[in-house]
Each structure stands twice: as structure tokens, then as C-alpha cells.
């Protein structure tokens, strides 16, 4: 009897331990191993960081040559003091991993198409399909190519290898107890870091910035609407923006010209549905004001790159000090160096240079095996890469990707085969060898304008508008990247892949790129707008160019004098929208105000007295936004089709068409038998918009809310896993068309203002998050509140560790580990 009781009790104990030591999948949701996860000695409770957490003061690090001192300030920004480059980047790798390891690995897994490995194939294979598309776009191929060139340069090789060593030293120090909480939640462990992952991270940024591509949508538009309507709906250049550089008739060089004749424009429908492009209102701002316009007489440089506002934050602030370098600013976790920042002599910043750097080539294969394709009358062999995609809890998935002369074939009969077996190969500038890291390596050490120019010569993709200012008084802007020389219309539509002459035959020589130094107007600026005036001798085209922020910035900078740092902060947080100014009076003039009900009349009155400013506390912006977001799909309902993809014209052009083409066929609604006019749909959109706001008002647990803009917009800084409770809602004004381009999940991901004074640079910065990637740390989101209020932190920039004084939060000494 006793033995039976014993056996039963033993079995229960063992089964309990087994069941609580493994993770379970219930309804597609992974439950962490509960015993392991809830154990307060090792589980998630250990990720609750004490408020006054002190680092271990001394650490032995294998691979280090000399001791390194790291000072953490009150924001947990590390200030690294090393005695040589190798130690400096090793320490950068170590501290970045200490704060952001999970994020770095997850982002590079995502870039490489390896998410199924962590979370399984997803609902309807959505995750697996995401992984497949990443593989088919050649992300790893691109990273491999970048790495090949990177390691040919001794400096870059040293930098990535040391950085990698530092990350791996941290990974080796981990056990389950000290693992980042996301690993515990999803029940997996980190793998070793490699230099390839640094390259992958940069390529993933290039993907974010270059993939606003609509060649297929434009091809369909050409077939359905014809060339005249295409030019009307999607002009190459909207006659509005204030270009980044204006040198009318002063581009004194002989442009490279292609002598071959371009192929005829395509005449086909590409039946791939659901192709999307990133929100066209996304972008970034940067500018520099010369000393002649500032109160202090020193230049001021500002940069706010707009990206997804996610947690852990995209940026990681850091100071790097070693012989030959004393640089600080925002770094990307996973890439060594500082990306947007300053040093003792200069400051620089980046915004995305909109330009078409992605092309699609229609491929003619000999048969379904895709072993050979036609090129200038000859059959050329292809190369096959078998992609093994590991899937958690399932057998791996094998995908064969065919590489042609142009690049990988993304769409074929095994992927998105709805398109009648037509094949498209993908050509992307980021597939080419590149050495972006050298740019940042040299910028971090640059002393003057000519160092900056040399550093930029290493940069090929993703093309950026690099702003510059120096303590010695220079300001400059240079649009840098490798841009193919194109003939008119080339790259706007899919290209014929059977003709070599359709390829990128030449690149614009770097010295012909758009650039300016110390312009007479006393400032330089960029906000993703059209790069140059009309006399620039190369054909330029992109998915869209920014139409509003750039004008607002330039209007204010032109008028400004005696500029102070506070003025610049105000400008970065400016919520005035030229789009609202240019569209609302038009919309209101069409509104049939006699037939409004009570709430509609209130909305109408609110809008009539609006100052076009997206202030967080006003209600008018909510009504405007609701009106606008209802109007666009009504006008452009023709563009939403289940069988193929089309692109919606830009906001600027929509307003332009409403003003100048009041009888366009597109105003008619497809879904109704009547013929609607522009007036009809503007009124309909207004009613729908007001109804939407009314619904929103009463949606929250019975209480009636006032639709203040910040509440209505509801900025949400989301965790990368999209696990809702790890994200944070924050009240913040702004709008995609305002300088403070903050939308719901997108916005200024780093705000920096640098005053380059002779006595040393003064720096003010903030970002929507915090230095620590650990949701259990006070530094997970400690900068968020000031960010949302438009306030800044005065960053501490040191010359030696002792300068830290009282502001010092914690010190960490890394020591070479004796063998």
C-alpha cells in the first residue's frame, strides 16, 4: 500500500516538474515554462531591476588588451574610455549587448528571415511567409556582399571583429537567471553574434528606408489609365517643394549620359495583390544654422530621424573615447560606432534621401526549372540557393531561390504564383558591396569639412542627406549614395530583364551628387523633399517626395535671426501643418453647412477656428484627421482592388487635383450607381469622419471622452514583439505633415540639437524610450516623458572619466582577463 502511495506521489512530482519546465502552445500562443519562468530565484522576477541597481564594479573580459573605464550617467548612457580602437569597440559591443542583446538578435533574425525559428509559422503561415519574403529579397546575400568588402579594410575589420567579441563576451556571461526577459517569455536562448549580423542590421535599415517602391503598382496604373493620367496622378516632381539644394544653372559638371535607347514602357498587368508601401508621411528632418544667424555666433545642428517608435528603442546613446576619437550620439544596437552625433570639432546627422534604388526585371526562363534565362538573345545560367527555414515545433521549410544576373527572383510559381506564372527579379542597390561602417568610423573622428567629405565617399547605401556643422564655423549638406544614371521614366515601371541595356550601366559620380557648403542663406536643411532645383542635370525619381515639413522648416529658418538652442527645440517640436492650411479651407468650402446635425455643426465650427496646429490638447486636429482619412479612400477607391495592387496618389497631389481638376473621374464612387461629384464625397467623408469621432468618444468604458488630439491619435510606443502590455501609450501632439512628424506608431525616434561652441559642443537630446532594453528597468522608458513634452536632456560629454564628478551614476572597469 505504502509503495503504491509512494509511486503515485513520485509520479505526480515528476510530471509536475516536467510540465512546468517546458513551454506549451495553446491557441497559437506560447505559454512560457511556468515553473522556470515564475521561480523568483531564476525566472522573470530576476529581471526586475532594483531602482538603485549598481553594476559589478570590476569585470574580467577575455580579449581585452588594456583596462577600459565605462561611466554610466544618470540616464544610463555609457561613456567609454579605452586606450585603443580594439578595446573601444569591444567595450561598445559589451555594453550595448548588456542593455539591448535581445533586441539586437531579434532584429537581425527578422532581417535574415528567421522569425519562424523563434515563434513558429504563425496564423495562416504569416510568419513563415514573412521569412520567405526576406530570404527572397536576398537580405543575407546583401549582408554577405557588404561584409566581404568590410573585412578587406583593416580598420573596419578590426571594428566589427572587436564589437563582435564584446557582444559574445557578454553572451558567454549569461545564464538563465540573467537572460533578458523576452528570451524567458518566448523560451529560447541567444546564439553567438557574428560580423555578418552587423552587416544584416545595416541592410535591415536599408530595407526600411529603400522599400518605398511602387514599380509594379505603377506598371498596372500605366496599363489601366494610360500615360497621361499616370503623369497627372503620379508626377515625378510635384511643383511645390523647396528643394534641399538650389543652385540654378550652377551645376558645373558634364553629366554622364547613356547612349543606348531605353526599351518601350511595359504593357502588362501584374496580378499580385496587397503590395504595400510604407506610410509616405514618414521621414526625417535635419538642418544646420550658420553662426551668422545664431545668437551665440556658433553653428547649431539639429537632427530628428523618424522611424517606428518601438521599445526597446531603435537608438542607443553612447560616448566613445580613445586616442584619436571622442565622439558621442545615437548608435544602432548591432552596429559599431555613432550614427547621428558629434565630436569635439564637428556634428552630423542623417535623413533618408528619397530616390528610386529598387527595380524589378521581368524574366523569361526557358522552362519551369528556371535554370536558364534569356539575356540579349542568349540563354544564361541561373544560380540556385536553397533556403532552409527552421520552424519551431515543425519540420523545416525549404525554399529554392533563383538568382539571375539582375538579382534574386522574388515572385515565381512557388511564391505569390497568382500572377500567371510571370517572373520578376529584384535589383536593389543594397545588394552591392558597400562599406557604410567606414563612413561612420571616419565621421566619428572627423575634424573638419574635408574629413567629412572623405568619410562620405565610403557611403553607398541607403542614400542619406548628411548634414554637417563644425566648431570652425562651416555648415554643409551632402546627399550621398550610389545612384544609377537613368533615362526618363526608367525605374518607374517594371523593366524588361532580357535586355542588358536596361541595367544600371553607370552610377552618378560622387562629385556630381547634390551638395552644398556654406550657402548664402545661412542654413542648410533636408526633410525628404526633392533634392535639387530643376536644372540638376540627372533624371531623378522616387516613390514620393515630402511636400510640407521642408517648407515649414525653411520658412521659419529663413526668417530666423539670433537663433538660440531653445528656438531649435521649438522647431523640432513644431506642430503646424501646411497640409492642413492648404486643404482645410478647400474642404470647408465644399461643405454643405445647412444640412448638418448638431455634432456635425460642432465639428464644423471647431474646424473653422482651427489654427492648423496639431496641438495635443486641441480637438480640431481629430476632426480634420478623421475627415481626411475618410476622404482619401473615397476618392481613390479605384486603387483598392483584390486582384492587383495600385498606388494611391500623395496627399499633396490629391489636394492639387481637388483644386485644379474638380471633374476628375476618380471622385465617382465605384460602389454606387449614382454619379458622385467632388462635393458629394467631401460631404460624405465629413459625415463619416464625425461619426468616427463620436464613436471614439463613447468607446472607453462608458465614460464620454473629449477628442483631444493626443488622446485621439493615441501614440503607442510598441514593444518589438507587439506584446501589448510591454508597450507604452503616451500623449503627444504632432502629425506626419508637421515638423514634429509624430503619428500613432511612428515619429521622431531621436531628437538632437548640438550647439558647436568654441568652448566645446553643447548637446541636447532625447528619444522615445530609454537606454535599457529591459522592461523591468527604470531606464526602459525614462526619456519618454520629456520626449512627449518636447523637452530635452542636457547630455554630458566628457574628456576624461574624472570630469563626470557628481553626475556619475555608476562606474564599470573592464580588465583584460589573464589567460
Amino acid at each position: 500500500m505504502r509503495i503504491i502511495k509512494f509511486l503515485i506521489s513520485l509520479s505526480i512530482t515528476l510530471v509536475l516538474i516536467w510540465a512546468l519546465d517546458k513551454s506549451w502552445e495553446v491557441n497559437q500562443t506560447r505559454i512560457p515554462p511556468l515553473g522556470k519562468f515564475l521561480d523568483p530565484f531564476h525566472g522573470f522576477w530576476q529581471n526586475l531591476e532594483p531602482t538603485h541597481y549598481q553594476f559589478p564594479e570590476n569585470l574580467d573580459i577575455p580579449g581585452l588588451q588594456q583596462p577600459v573605464t565605462i561611466i554610466f550617467d544618470s540616464l544610463m548612457i555609457p561613456h567609454i574610455f579605452a586606450q585603443n580602437d580594439a578595446d573601444l569597440y569591444l567595450a561598445q559591443g559589451y555594453v550595448t549587448a548588456m542593455h539591448r542583446l535581445w533586441q539586437m538578435e531579434f532584429q537581425t533574425h527578422a532581417a535574415a528571415g528567421r522569425i519562424s525559428e523563434i515563434i513558429g509559422p504563425g496564423k495562416d503561415d504569416a510568419v513563415l511567409n514573412y521569412d520567405r519574403s526576406q530570404r527572397r529579397l536576398g537580405m543575407v546575400y546583401a549582408a554577405d556582399n557588404a561584409l566581404r568588402l568590410m573585412i578587406k579594410r583593416p580598420e573596419a575589420r578590426l571594428v566589427v571583429n572587436s564589437y563582435t567579441d564584446g557582444i559574445n563576451a557578454y553572451i558567454r556571461s549569461l545564464n538563465y537567471r540573467s537572460l533578458p526577459v523576452e528570451y524567458k517569455l518566448m523560451d529560447y536562448s541567444p546564439e553567438n553574434w557574428t560580423p555578418l549580423k552587423c552587416a544584416l542590421l545595416l541592410k535591415s535599415m536599408a530595407q526600411t528606408l529603400n522599400m518605398g517602391d511602387k514599380d509594379m503598382q505603377m506598371t498596372n496604373a500605366l496599363k489601366l489609365f494610360g500615360p497621361d493620367l499616370v503623369n497627372l496622378l503620379y508626377p515625378d516632381r510635384e511643383p511645390v517643394a523647396d528643394p534641399i539644394v538650389e543652385k540654378p544653372n550652377a551645376w558645373d559638371f558634364e553629366p554622364v549620359k547613356l547612349d543606348s535607347v531605353p526599351s518601350a514602357l511595359p504593357d502588362e498587368l501584374i496580378k499580385i495583390s496587397g503590395l504595400t508601401i510604407p506610410d509616405p508621411t514618414i521621414g526625417s528632418n535635419n538642418w544646420a544654422v550658420a553662426g551668422s544667424k545664431t545668437q551665440s555666433g556658433s553653428p547649431i545642428l539639429c537632427n530628428d530621424p523618424h522611424l517606428n517608435t518601438t521599445l526597446p528603442s531603435i537608438w542607443y546613446a553612447i560616448q566613445l573615447n580613445a586616442p584619436g576619437i571622442n565622439s558621442m550620439g545615437a548608435s544602432l544596437p548591432g552596429a559599431p560606432g555613432v550614427i547621428s552625433g558629434f565630436n569635439d570639432s564637428i556634428a552630423w546627422g542623417v535623413t533618408n534621401a528619397q530616390r528610386d534604388l529598387v527595380d524589378w526585371y521581368a524574366i523569361h526562363f526557358d522552362n519551369l526549372k528556371m535554370n536558364r534565362f534569356l539575356l540579349d538573345g542568349e540563354w544564361i545560367d541561373t544560380r540556385k540557393i536553397i533556403e532552409k527555414i527552421d520552424i519551431r515545433g515543425k519540420e523545416p521549410f525549404f525554399d529554392t531561390v533563383t538568382y539571375t544576373y539582375w538579382g534574386p527572383v522574388v515572385y515565381d510559381h512557388s511564391y505569390r504564383s497568382e500572377n500567371n506564372r510571370k517572373y520578376y527579379a529584384f535589383r536593389w542597390i543594397a545588394h552591392d558591396e558597400s562599406e557604410e561602417l567606414m563612413t561612420f568610423y571616419e565621421l566619428n573622428r572627423a575634424r573638419n569639412h574635408s574629413d567629412y567629405m572623405k568619410a562620405l565617399d565610403h557611403f553607398s547605401s541607403p542614400a542619406q542627406n548628411f548634414v554637417f556643422a563644425s566648431v570652425s564655423g562651416d555648415i554643409a549638406m551632402r546627399i550621398q549614395g550610389k545612384f544609377p544614371v537613368r533615362r526618363k521614366n526608367e525605374g518607374k515601371f517594371v523593366l524588361d530583364g532580357s535586355k542588358l541595356s536596361n541595367g544600371w550601366q553607370y552610377f552618378i559620380p560622387f562629385e556630381h551628387n547634390v551638395m552644398v557648403k556654406n550657402p548664402e542663406r545661412g542654413f542648410v536643411s533636408s526633410a525628404n523633399q526633392y533634392p535639387a532645383d530643376e536644372t540638376y542635370p540627372y533624371y531623378i525619381q522616387a516613390t514620393s517626395y515630402e511636400a510640407y515639413r521642408n517648407r515649414r522648416i525653411n520658412n521659419l529658418l529663413r526668417e530666423a535671426n539670433q537663433v538660440t538652442v531653445q528656438d531649435m527645440m521649438r522647431l523640432q517640436n513644431d506642430n503646424y501643418s501646411i497640409r492642413a492650411e492648404e486643404s482645410l479651407p478647400l474642404l470647408l468650402s465644399h461643405l454643405d453647412s445647412a444640412s448638418l446635425n448638431e455634432v456635425e455643426r460642432f465639428a464644423f465650427k471647431t474646424l473653422q477656428s482651427w489654427d492648423y496646429t496639431f496641438t495635443g490638447t486641441s480637438e480640431a486636429p481629430s476632426y480634420y484627421e478623421a475627415w481626411w482619412t475618410n476622404l482619401m479612400p473615397l476618392i481613390w477607391d479605384e486603387m483598392r482592388r483584390d486582384d492587383l495592387s495600385l498606388s494611391t496618389p500623395t496627399s499633396w497631389n490629391t489636394i492639387n487635383l481637388m483644386k485644379n481638376h474638380p471633374d476628375l473621374v476618380f471622385y465617382d464612387l465605384q460602389s454606387s450607381p449614382e454619379k458622385e461629384s467632388l462635393k458629394d464625397i467631401i460631404n460624405l467623408a465629413f459625415k463619416q469622419g464625425v461619426e468616427e469621432v463620436e464613436k471614439w468618444k463613447s468607446s472607453a468604458d462608458g465614460t464620454n471622452r473629449t477628442p483631444q488630439w493626443a488622446e485621439y491619435k493615441d501614440t503607442f510606443v510598441e514593444h518589438l514583439t507587439r506584446i501589448e502590455p510591454l508597450g507604452i501609450h503616451v500623449k503627444h501632439g504632432g502629425h506626419g505633415s508637421a515638423v514634429n512628424a509624430s503619428s500613432r506608431k511612428h515619429g521622431p525616434s531621436w531628437r538632437m540639437v548640438v550647439s558647436l561652441e568654441k568652448t566645446g559642443p553643447k548637446i541636447y537630446a532625447t528619444y522615445p524610450g530609454g537606454q535599457s532594453g529591459n522592461p523591468g528597468s527604470v531606464h526602459y522608458s525614462d526619456m519618454l516623458e520629456r520626449w512627449s513634452k518636447g523637452q530635452y536632456f542636457n547630455l554630458m560629454f566628457l574628456h576624461k572619466p574624472e570630469d563626470a564628478g557628481q553626475k556619475l551614476f555608476s562606474t564599470m572597469n573592464l580588465k583584460p582577463k589573464k589567460k
Binding site: 505504502r2 502511495k5 509512494f6 506521489s9 513520485l10 505526480i12 512530482t13 509536475l16 516538474i17 512546468l20 519546465d21 505559454i31 511556468l34 515553473g35 522556470k36 515564475l38 521561480d39 523568483p40 530565484f41 531564476h42 525566472g43 522573470f44 522576477w45 530576476q46 529581471n47 526586475l48 531591476e49 532594483p50 531602482t51 538563465y176 526577459v181 517569455l185 506584446i723 501589448e724 502590455p725 510591454l726 522592461p775 523591468g776 528597468s777 527604470v778 526602459y780
Partner: protein, 110 residues
């Protein structure tokens, strides 16, 4: 008295073992207490000892921190509140401790 001695013995053994071994070492701690310090309520002592150990440790860590991670985890695991999460933690640890202590208490001492 026996009950109290057994409870303290399991508590100390489990706490020490957790320094070196993974979470399931609580079962070893409880098993030691179940075998060497028997009482007439072996399951209950095992349960209470580990539940208490986990609850106190979790609460201690929580008071040291000002972050809202505990609320977030409670919400991710779909338990109503922080308090429920503390109780679930104590319960799961307690169950393993209870059965482990009961098991070894059923072995005949030679």
C-alpha cells in the same frame, strides 16, 4: 514542533539549492525535508515551505523595483493582477514542494 522544524529545514535547503541549481531544485530541498524531518503533515509542510519561500522572494524583488514589469507579465499570462501573479507563483512552487516532500516521506526509514 516537528512541523515547524520540517518547514524550516525545507525552506533553508531549497533556498541554498536554488543558488546552484535550476528551479526544480526546490523538489530536492523538499524531498530532503520529507525524508529526514518527517512530520504528520508532510505535504502541507512541503507546500507551505516552498510557497512561502517563493512568495517572500518574489515580493522582495518587486519592492526593490519601480518598474511595471510585474503588471505587464500578469497581463501577458492573463491573470487579473499582480496579486494573483504572486499567488500563482506561490501555488506552483508549493505544489512541487508538497508532492516532493510527500514522496520521500513515504520511503521507509531503515
Amino acid at each position: 514542533m516537528k512541523f515547524l522544524i520540517q518547514l524550516i529545514a525545507i525552506l533553508i535547503a531549497a533556498a541554498l539549492l536554488e543558488i546552484f541549481l535550476p528551479w526544480w531544485s526546490i523538489a530536492i530541498g523538499a524531498a530532503i525535508g520529507g525524508y529526514f524531518f518527517r512530520s504528520n503533515m508532510n505535504f502541507l509542510t512541503g507546500f507551505l515551505a516552498i510557497a512561502l519561500l517563493w512568495l517572500v522572494k518574489a515580493m522582495w524583488l518587486e519592492t526593490q523595483s519601480t518598474s511595471s514589469l510585474t503588471e505587464s507579465i500578469a497581463s501577458i499570462l492573463m491573470v487579473k493582477s499582480k496579486t494573483v501573479l504572486f499567488l500563482v507563483t506561490a501555488l506552483l512552487g508549493g505544489l512541487v514542494g508538497g508532492f516532493a516532500a510527500l514522496t520521500t516521506s513515504l520511503i521507509k526509514k531503515s
